[in-house]
Assembly symmetry: C2
């Protein structure tokens, strides 16, 4: 039973062998004081094992899939289907834990082995009017891989895990073509053999795939140095109901709108990305991460803005607000927090904000320049340990979340971005909306990606789960945050639209924008089989 129920989680975050570490007792006590009753007794137990209805895929269609992919690559097993019922949002995890029967389960899991087989699957699905959910790492936190069937009688998950090859490397142009199903670490391993890196390290890095990065406009933690994923994409190959579509013949072009930027961010609704051509860079031979502290959020944001506008950002530049800094100091036992607090107070820092900066590759000259600007902005360097500690723990968030859920904590993140002149307003508005909706909660935030004209804000929320209505508790808070964002910033900076943000898309891109996307979708997917209910709702 519990095997079945926890399949999704185990598959996602603990397969590297490093099971989620328990939270230290001290940290549990600290949290308990701030967000109300939590503890091991709050672990959620399902009332009964989740049932899985029979697949709606008929035997003749099943045969067609098997003829196209081979019988081993067409799965109807309930565990396999349950394992791809959704992504990794707090609500996904909660629903999986409680065995929520309303979560739609796909009718089959298909595992094509190459782009032609992906195309073959789409052709069969068009003929039989079956919905298709493209599935990479399954790390969506916005419902992007929910097995919704829309108006279709059946929905299948098209899992790209077998598209795991490095297709080609062009050393002259510094372009590598990777198949869509290659995961972050494997992409780096394949490229490292040629001396290259993508430098793309979002928090989902361990599980998420090249196709998923492209489909969702992913942004890695080193985006200031390596760019957002869309900046790396030089070409895309997609399978669509209308046939194969290839884009990208030059680094830049004036041959009409840049359709690569339509494919990137299309969230499986305009085609299934099967290969991505990516700009690669030489593996860095040096790497240096360190921590700084700035006094106050305003001062910190101004310092990061200065770095961005002077083209002096470190490759990783991450500024925590006062609340996130306090949580970091409280929960990281290794940081000698009380000494640090004393040091900062002695230097007049009443509202310390932690700034992590990291350089890869050419460190020395760039670090000198960034450091000079930071010092001029009143920031103080507090050493390498903090930076390295952040770097080593930077993919642990999702695992920590599993532990927090065990303790009865409602824990979720959300993110946005705005122009610099709107950033304070956005920070305050989202914070206020979350606190007002959740009551006793820790709401913390950091700038994770900075640009000349603005920056992203990444919020983490911790509160005690309301067991009377745990789903409604978060849905209301998320809605309040989304409404606060609308009109000030973007509804999502790097998590994509999926199901959760679809109601807010029109406010951002206009009715005409939505009409244009619908028209583009109709052109490639006239019967609407691709990822029903995502992006356009």
């Amino acid at each position: 039973m519990s095997d079945l129920i926890n399949h999704r989680i185990r598959r996602s975050w603990t397969e590297r062998g490093a099971g989620a570490a328990a939270l230290p007792e001290r940290a549990v006590r600290w949290l308990d004081q701030r967000i109300g009753r939590i503890g091991p007794d709050r672990d959620t137990k399902p009332v009964s094992p989740r049932s899985v209805t029979e697949s709606a895929v008929s035997v003749p269609v099943r045969t067609e899939f098997e003829d196209a992919l081979g019988p081993d690559h067409v799965l109807f097993d309930p565990q396999e289907r349950l394992g791809r019922t959704g992504g990794l949002s707090y609500l996904d995890l909660l629903r999986t834990r409680t065995g929520d029967e309303t979560v739609p389960v796909p009718d089959a899991v298909l595992l094509p082995g190459d782009p032609d087989e992906v195309q073959a699957v789409l052709d069969i699905c068009v003929r039989h009017d079956i919905g298709v959910v493209p599935f990479g790492g399954g790390t969506s936190v916005v419902g992007g891989v929910a097995a919704l069937r829309g108006d279709k009688s059946a929905v299948v998950v098209l899992d790209l895990e077998r598209l795991d090859d490095l297709v080609s490397v062009d050393d002259v142009s510094r372009i590598a073509v990777l198949q869509a199903g290659v995961r972050g670490p494997e992409a780096e391993r394949l490229l490292a053999a040629h001396g290259y890196t993508l430098g793309h390290v979002p928090q989902s890095f361990e599980r998420a795939t090249i196709g998923g990065f492209a489909a969702t406009r992913s942004a890695g933690q080193a985006s200031a140095g390596y760019g957002r994923f869309e900046d790396m994409v030089t070409g895309v190959r997609l399978a669509t109901p209308k046939g194969e579509w290839r884009l990208g013949v030059a680094p830049a072009s004036a041959a009409g709108p840049d359709l690569r930027q339509l494919a990137v961010g299309s969230e499986g609704a305009l085609g299934v990305i099967t290969e991505v051509a990516l700009r690669v860079r030489p593996l860095p031979d040096h790497r240096h991460y360190e921590g700084w502290v700035v006094d106050g959020w305003d001062g910190g944001a101004a310092a990061v803005r200065k770095l961005a506008q002077e083209h002096a950002l470190a490759d990783v530049t991450r500024l925590s607000d006062v609340d996130e800094t306090a949580v970091s100091f409280a929960l990281n036992a290794g940081w000698k927090t009380s000494l640090l607090r004393g040091y900062l107070r002695a230097r007049g820092m009443r509202s310390p904000c932690l700034l992590i900066v990291g350089w890869e590759g050419d460190v020395v000259g760039r670090r000198r320049r960034t450091s000079a600007l930071l010092r001029r902005a009143g920031a103080r360097r507090i050493g390498k340990a903090l930076g390295e500690s952040w770097r080593h723990g930077r993919f642990s968030g999702p695992r920590q979340r599993d532990v927090l859920l065990d303790l009865g904590v409602c824990v979720e993140t959300l993110e946005t971005a705005a122009y610099w002149s709107n950033l304070d307003e956005l920070h305050d508005a989202v914070r206020a909306a979350l606190v007002s909706s959740l009551g006793q909660a820790i709401v913390m935030c950091h700038v994770s990606h900075a640009y000349e004209t603005g920056a992203s804000l990444y919020f983490t929320v911790l509160t005690s789960r309301d067991d009377r209505d745990p789903i409604g508790q978060w849905q209301r808070a998320k809605a309040a945050a989304c409404e606060a964002i609308t009109g000030i910033g973007t509804i999502t900076h790097h998590h994509a639209v999926g199901v959760d943000h679809a109601p807010y898309l029109e406010a951002e891109i206009g009715r005409i924008g939505v009409d244009v996307l619908r028209a583009a979708k109709s052109a490639v997917d006239p019967t609407g089989i691709l990822n029903p209910g995502k992006l356009l709702g």
Copy 2:
């Protein structure tokens, strides 16, 4: 008569008072030896003045336009209409000179004063099914502003010259909003008053407009430093037959595909751009341009590639091939060419390729780094004079073209881009296609924009005009070049699609790409009034 005929040309390139300078006798002789008979006796004289048919806009519609814009801003005068019959390609100039009666003339010229008036014009045109050609500087060299009426009974030019304001400046976000009709120099003047620059200096700078830059994915000569125009665009406001459309709420977003990149490059076919929000940078306090020479095209391209991939490009980086270098040495009397040739020969440079590099703003450190890499690549610095001479003459191309036309020269440019590993093949293929089509011709080329993964190639062609079939002469050469480009690079790196490149678009973005663009167009412009015949043919 000649006033009428030359209106288009005069309006475009000599209005700054600096009439086109005559070519020195020495240069005429040099050209004459290489491309066959040219001279003042070859000046084209029209057989008879060009006739202009009566406007097809009916009196009631005229009244509607006048009510919307005021009678002074609705022009039916033949001179005004003839002055907006097309752009500035060689064929446009030739047809204007010869009074070619087949060139379509718009039925009216409309001069709206603000975005609301642009919307009002579109609403009237939708009601009466009239084609609309958005018109900025009129500098298209690909037929982008040809007054084609498609299936409409009338076509009007919507000239944006009265949308000439700086709307707002956000000093914190470093974003300025400019109206679409602001020309390059005026944009710089308006921004300079606030201490900013766009740094966008394409060859069309003196005449072209903000809206035109965005609509065509323009790239300026300093694109390595300031980015292509699309990199500067943070927001766009368009008038469409379906109403106003605004895009751009954050520097980056994952809210689906980036529709700004659909508006940018839409060439007036998806809407009329009325305002553009642009990232601005502080005015540079220093500026340094200089010339270098590299031995051979391959070595030169490798050096520029090295700079691009090491992030050491100067803001302006422009590498001429052997032929273009020879022409530069021959035609620039001020350069003490024979001394220079001797100096280079003495240093073993048999096939010198000129490299112009220029830095704006923070010069010293960057220049040191670039110079070190260039020296390591075997390049030799030949001084500031050459760089400054290039900088001062960099907008003179279009004016020189007028002079060359007077001498019976067929002179035109075309451009493309490819990944580095395809660049040599592209260079050779386009060159061979042009030479094979034109016979005795000078075909020269430079890399004007370099990226980590590839670069642009900009070709200039000079040959003696074939007076039996001057139009066919160039059409055949251009077609040969376009066919050579297809499959290796992009059909256009920064000149856009217009009419001329439309037949080649499908080969680049696929049938599905064309279908998607058509669908997007149908969504915003269901009756097809916007810029008939452009982009999608």
